[in-house]
Symmetry: C2
Subunit: 320 residues, 2 copies
């Protein structure tokens, strides 16, 4: 597959790059690394994302070139769809993008449907960026500092700071090589994890008070209400990372963050220490993700939503 | 220096291993990796530490062999002192240990006084464990799973989860190699960072309420009182990691955790994003550490202690 992608890049000159809604570090870092690779080869490239980049990723080199309105598609010969398990996750322009002639689908989600003209799917890869790292090697392109920074940021975030089970020898050796090519681990971590607005910490203080446990304390959860967001003066994106707190507690195998998006409508983020496959749970409710990290949306009041997810988890926890 | 250490290991058969009081991951992981290396070579080895191992490090292979009462020193031909910038930090038995005939001092603290028969000090090394990793290579000993696990845990913790500036290409390549030798990154991270007792999270909820800023918000701090510990049913060791929270806030360059050990007696943990050398600040008050992470003790009520440290920091922040 890699060599077919190399062939496509050689043959064409104008590329569109896109990824899923609710951008994360792997989506953005992968897009930007590919953007820098293509432009360094003299190709034309443009990144389109429906959603704005979260504030803590705006330091990524090139992120000021990303557009949020779909350009006229005629001039784009090939579209790269990165880190996106299904077309619908591209957002409201999904149908238009799906109608393009040549689609290259690069992803590491186990649930990826293999859509596209060429698809490179490797669920064993830590991140989409680790696949792009291989592509860059295969292209024989020199890894610039901008490419290294984006790839490093993407790998770092999709492995939960090199803590998830998807962290392999290859992952760390690749990260080491990216440091040699100019990625600054301290600066990247500082921007992503240590540039929280004070409102985020105010929000955390409130949300921590909702911490509770269920199912013999094997499930820990917290709730972000719209009121707590308002009171803290915080944004949705500031809840990133909160779900790792219940997960950090002894005996907790699955953590849940209930995030009230609007009345009776919740986003649920799920994290596992690895024994429970939360991707399977999220999928039951139309969501997706990975074994360790998944998400889904649910309608209903908090008690109903809680009851439904805990019932689903109960089955899986009993299976063990 | 490495080759002189190899020579000493070859020549002798009975080794004592020790490290500083208030043990951390690098101290314990380095001691245990060395212990496993020596015993795998058919040597006799014993680890003595004054302090008990913090609960989240007791999973480290071999940690149940560590003793906390100094054995009769006559039978020990060589003592390894690891990760310890000065003899006094060994604790109450420092004088006895200092009287031993052959002392090998391996450390990466810039302030290390080069004591001992042989000293291998490299302030550019991420951790003492990274130096031991080189020693193991030089010894041509096969890295066992137990050695790999201990070295990985030590490197992981002394780089703040591969986030501090001391994370180099060599650090990540070494970590990658240790995964290949059997270190499980997810299991190790889970034990160290994700096995918090609920009382730790209760304590965090209380301590977060003390979050405040000084010096144009370039310094952020929190206070752990004995009362908050008691109310949460938590232990001193559960404050580990709290100091990283003020550091995670945008604009904060230095974070401080004031930890009330007894009446009018505080331990101050300092963290920097790299621009301010907190080791220099800690040293002014008789403490030590690294550029990014240091600590010192101070007597006085909280207002006095706060005033003294902020005055010292003010000078350094103005220097920039």
């Amino acid at each position: 597959m890699l060599s077919e992608i190399v062939g496509m890049i050689d043959r064409f000159g104008v590329f569109l790059i896109t990824s899923h809604v609710r951008l994360d570090g792997d989506a953005l870092g992968s897009e930007l690394a590919l953007y820098h690779m293509l432009t360094s080869m003299g190709k034309e490239a443009l990144i389109y994302n429906q959603d704005e980049s979260p504030g803590n990723y705006r330091f990524l080199p090139g992120s000021d070139t990303i557009v949020h309105r779909l350009p006229a598609l005629e001039r784009y010969e090939v579209v790269f769809i990165l880190d996106c398990s299904e077309m619908e996750r591209l957002g409201e322009e999904a149908l238009k993008i799906a109608s393009m002639k040549r689609i290259i689908n690069i992803d590491h989600h186990v649930s990826n449907g293999n859509f596209g003209t060429i698809s490179l799917i490797d669920p064993l890869s830590s991140s989409t960026a680790e696949l792009l790292y291989k592509l860059v090697h295969m292209m024989n392109v020199e890894i610039t500092k901008d490419m290294a920074t984006n790839l490093y940021a993407a790998i770092l975030t999709d492995t939960g700071g090199f803590r998830y089970r998807n962290t392999t020898r290859e992952t760390l050796v690749a990260a080491g090589h990216l440091i040699e090519r100019g990625a600054d681990p301290q600066w990247i971590s500082e921007n992503i994890y240590e540039s929280n607005p004070p409102s985020k910490v105010r929000l955390l203080t409130k949300v921590l008070e909702t911490l509770a446990f269920e199912l013999d304390r094997r499930v820990g959860y917290m709730i972000v209400t719209r009121k707590s967001l308002e009171d803290a003066g915080a944004l949705q994106e500031h809840t990133e990372g909160f779900v790792d707190i219940p997960r950090s507690i002894q005996g907790v195998e699955v953590s849940i963050l209930f995030n009230e998006l609007s009345e009776n409508h919740f986003k649920l983020s799920l994290r596992s220490k690895g024994r429970v496959n939360v991707e399977r749970v999220a999928r039951m409710f139309g969501g997706g993700g990975h074994i360790n990290a998944a998400a889904c949306n649910m309608d209903g009041d908090i008690d109903t939503v809680k009851y439904r997810i805990l019932s689903a988890l109960k089955g899986l926890l009993l299976d063990q």
